[in-house]
Symmetry: C2
Subunit: 204 residues, 2 copies
């Protein structure tokens, strides 16, 4: 079996998609293949790749308007914003307020059929809401994340700018392919850098 990865292995390694933290939760242990000399846990690359692919497949079973993606940090917001723009999936950026999925009286009330979480510590309120309403949860999880309630863990470095850009780039591309909106990677007219937060250098 000559399974091809979504991108060259070197590209994954360059952005550090597999570089975790110095903390390891019990649930994430299975995705860790070793600990680096400096104490950082490293995630298994083949699993990362496989699960990005699975996440795209799973999401593609839903209408984009029934999907919510959450992002709450500067890098994930930038990447998820581009992702949402391309896929037409609904983005909730910043803090998720209690009642968002459960209180119909809220102005921003929404009833997703599936949610995608960028960081399930930062966005734990979204996890709470989704699990209360039994909505399936796909979540990017680093070695230090608690994965209770998550239905599909996508193990990865969910903090780095370049790692997040590549993840959302791939997920957008695979989503469009699974939906049949594009046929090949070449038809995907975006670059990984389009998903990166722009660091602005302003003169004072």
């Amino acid at each position: 079996m000559t399974e091809k990865m979504l991108v060259e292995q070197t590209e994954y390694l360059e952005v550090g998609i597999h570089i975790g933290t110095k903390v390891r939760t019990p649930g994430m242990s299975r995705f860790i293949y070793k600990v680096r000399e400096d104490g950082l846990y490293l995630l298994d690359l083949a699993t990362i790749d496989k699960r990005i692919s699975l996440a795209a497949k799973m999401l593609s079973k839903y209408d984009p308007s029934d999907i919510v993606v959450t992002a709450s940090r500067i890098y994930s917001i930038a990447a998820a914003t581009k992702f949402a723009e391309i896929t037409k999936i609904k983005l909730i950026s910043g803090r998720v307020m209690p009642g968002l999925f459960t209180n119909p009286n809220r102005e921003d009330f929404t009833e997703p059929e599936i949610v995608l979480i960028s960081d399930n510590r930062n966005e734990r309120q979204a996890i709470k809401e989704a699990s209360k309403t039994n909505v399936p949860i796909i979540s990017f999880c680093d070695t230090d994340n608690w994965i209770k309630f998550v239905d599909l863990v996508v193990p990865c470095n969910n903090k780095g700018r370049r790692s997040l850009s590549l993840i959302y780039f791939l997920l957008a591309r695979e989503f469009l392919k699974e939906k049949g909106l594009i046929k090949t990677n070449d038809e995907f007219n975006y670059k990984v850098s389009d998903f990166e937060a722009k660091v602005e250098m302003k003169a004072k």
Copy 2:
């Protein structure tokens, strides 16, 4: 949110789909909602229901000929046989031989794109083969199963005759619906009992 289950809750309870074992592995803890007085761990019903649904969605992204289902005990074999017949998914029943997915020289060599495992202790060879080749794994897991390598755990009683019949019945029905081969439950012309192992009473 008034999420409907795939069948009435009473039907799930009647077949004991949520009744686990007296053993609890760390990976399965999150799916357990309580321990019964007799020491049996009980699985969370809402999660069981949600995940059967997710499993059907996930499988439906593949061509039936690229899916392998494994079954190795009398009750799972009966249920999975019916499931395979209806869905055209390939059934591997009985013992999985080393090399099945990895050795092209074997006569029964097969390269599935995704596998569905009835019991991942009994069918651990299939898990091993699939994880070597990085094939996604969906697995029915009881409270005593080790879930390393499994990509989507469907928590359930994976030993009982009636539980297995109902699981495979629902999975077949949802699979056909997700594939667009039937539109409603009424169009599914099978009964749960069609998935049950027939206990033969022979006169001597």
